[in-house]
Amino acid sequence: MTPRFITRSLFFFMTLLLIEQFLNGLQIGLLLFLLAAGLTLVFGIMDLVNLAHGSLYMMGAFFAATLTEWTGSFLLGALLALPATALLGIVVEVIALRNLYTRDHLDHVLATFGLILFFNELARILFGVGGMAIPLPDSLLTHFEVLPGLPYPTYRFLIIVVGLLCAVFLYVLVQKTRLGMLIRAGATNREMVGALGIDIKLLFTLVFGLGAALAALAGLMAAPITTVQIGMGDNILILALVVIVIGGIGSIRGAFIAAVMIGLVDTMGRAFLPNMLGTVLSPADAGTVAEALSSMLIYILMSGVLVLRPAGLFPAPGR
């Protein structure tokens, strides 16, 4: 073997690893996008700060786990969990949140924080403290050759595909349909839409239901990887909020770009920072600094974006 050959194969190997980590980041980002899309819709259009979005993510995952157990099929369980969570979202909107629209944001925070506690306790009563796992069918436990020499877990690849399809679906829905037009109009000027004779109450309920279904999709797609547990939505909600702050409140496009950015920054940071810092620092120091730095990267990114664009990357017009 010539040195040149070794260098070249090392380069090839590093490229494959880079691509694999890119896919990992993309997959985390798209999962985050599914969650953030619903949150940004509700925030942008209804001007409602919904901290309980993470609870809908959790309930969606629990529904999917239970229905998968009953039906014996992950696909069927997933397909049934979406309308079930949408319905749950609609019930929550009608019973608890409808009366809050005229109140200020602090009241939203208080009420929806209460909902988080309520749903965590409800999940504990209904599903027990032990949590649940969704075992994947054998067909999804396989590997998929993305490139020669680069096998990638089929299920993680599926998350990427579903995430991208969902992004396209939302783009078409928001940009090309009548409902989407109303949604965009609602985001820009709620009173005017109401004045034009649109039933804004119904529109809000629909949007909230759609947001709940998106949260459920995120939850049930994440469930086979991260298992279903009480409070699983609480931590990821913070990331989803970071996404919509970076992306601009109410913007699906912003949420998409911000979520993928966060997924990539987080994964690449975890993957390569220790080695990169290792070239300038001692291995022990590099480890400590890299760990601290990679968990801060997301927030550094957010501050950077906010300095340059205080309203986020793609602020909805009229705000």
Partner: protein, 396 residues
């Protein structure tokens, strides 16, 4: 307006005065042993706190709910797995409930945030799980005991196991908090081969390990060693299996497989390796009584968290009995605790000079009892009378 304010203030003062006299009354009569128990009773890891509470209660049942003839009252508090909450609850138990003993603590970071006010008030604190190296070494304290283990001990056992299995190149993944660092250092203390990679992950909210698993695949070590307590263990095992690495690169762990996680991990943990100081099938009489009665009462197998809590209750009882219930005799209590004169579920154990146990570590495995039922069993003793490496740093 003024009148009602005045009334309210008067009312509040009256109530608090009543409460004060009530408290004084209780203190004067001190015919009761109060134990404060801090553990995690909500969130994803609530199952462990509940297991600890169940086991502690079972131990009290076994002793007729009396220690040295004195009735026992236990006050359980939920730390939500957060250091700041654990500290608050500890202060509350110390100041408002004026407990005689403190116990519990699953998480090293929660314990490190909470232990200071306890030992400063000369109240004995007996950890039922966390065993941070700081408290075993420089910050060891006459009022602190670990009835569980020192963080490095079980990993050191796994390090020996890795040597026995002839592993040369090891990859380590653990969460980046107090216990994670100890668990990584522990395995390195005894493992003789080369550590080819180490990732410390964000704790407790990182649930996706794809970046780390990709690095493992690229590094091609002989074995991977992990520490992911509680729920994170299910996630790591799931993702490691989904990446199809389990057969290619053997997985070794500590505190990552237990009765609770096993219900979700199932087949994923079969044919993986782990080491621990205790298993439900250890043949000692105290252990058999504990496990059998626990199963009878709760229709479930206890976890090591429960076993340690059971030991804490018996350790405290042995000290109270030795001092004939004189809780003011701190010196006597300490000597009695140090003697560890009780039947531990782990079999033979004694305390080192830093108040951490010296005991054996066993290799264990998970196995399928029947369809959908899994359990943990002992394979062999890896090492006997293991001392933790921080003890020499303890000046006590």
């Amino acid at each position: 307006m003024k009148m009602s304010t005045l009334l309210r203030v008067t009312g509040a003062l009256a109530v608090s005065a009543l409460a004060l006299t009530a408290a004084d009354h209780a203190a004067a009569q001190a015919k009761k042993i109060k134990i404060g128990f801090v553990t995690t009773l909500s969130g994803p890891n609530a199952a462990y706190g509940i297991d600890m509470r169940n086991s502690f209660e079972l131990a009290l049942d076994h002793m007729g709910r009396k220690m040295g003839g004195i009735p026992v009252e236990v006050i359980y508090e939920d730390d939500e797995q957060k250091p700041e909450v654990g500290k608050q609850k500890t202060d509350k138990l110390l100041q408002r409930d004026r407990v005689d003993f403190m116990a519990g603590y699953i998480w090293s970071n929660v314990l490190l945030a909470s232990y200071k006010p306890v030992v400063d008030s000369k109240t004995f604190l007996i950890s039922a799980n966390a065993g941070p190296s700081q408290l075993a070494g420089e910050q060891c304290n006459p009022y602190f005991f670990a009835a569980s283990w020192a963080n490095e001990q079980n990993p050191m056992g796994v390090g020996h196991l890795l040597n026995q299995k002839n592993v040369k190149r090891l990859y380590i993944v653990a969460p980046n908090y107090a216990a994670g660092q100890d668990m990584a250092n522990g395995v390195k203390a005894t493992f003789k081969g080369e550590v080819v990679g180490q990732d410390m992950t964000r704790w407790p909210d990182q649930l996706d390990f794809s970046a780390e698993i990709s690095k493992i695949r690229a590094t091609k070590p002989d074995a991977v060693y992990i520490f992911f307590p509680g729920r994170a263990g299910v996630q790591f095992y799931t993702q490691y299996s989904q990446a199809n690495l389990k057969k290619e690169i053997p997985l070794y762990s500590v505190f990552t497989v237990d009765g609770v996680t096993l219900k979700l991990q199932k087949d994923l943990v079969l044919d993986t390796y782990f080491g621990l100081f205790w298993a439900p099938d250890l043949p000692y009489a105290a252990n058999q009584k504990f496990v059998t009665d626990y199963k009878k009462k709760h229709k479930d197998t206890p976890t090591f968290y429960g076993a340690q809590s059971y030991d804490v209750a018996n350790l405290i009882a042995s000290a109270v009995a030795a001092t004939k219930g004189n809780l003011k005799d701190k010196e006597g209590l300490r000597k009695a605790l140090e003697a560890a004169n009780f039947d531990s579920v782990r079999g033979p154990m004694k305390f080192n000079k830093n108040h951490f146990p010296i005991h054996a570590i066993y290799q264990q495995e998970a196995y399928k009892v029947s369809e959908n039922e899994y359990d943990i069993r002992t394979i062999s003793k890896i090492i006997d009378n293991l001392e933790d490496p921080s003890a020499p740093k303890c000046k006590m």
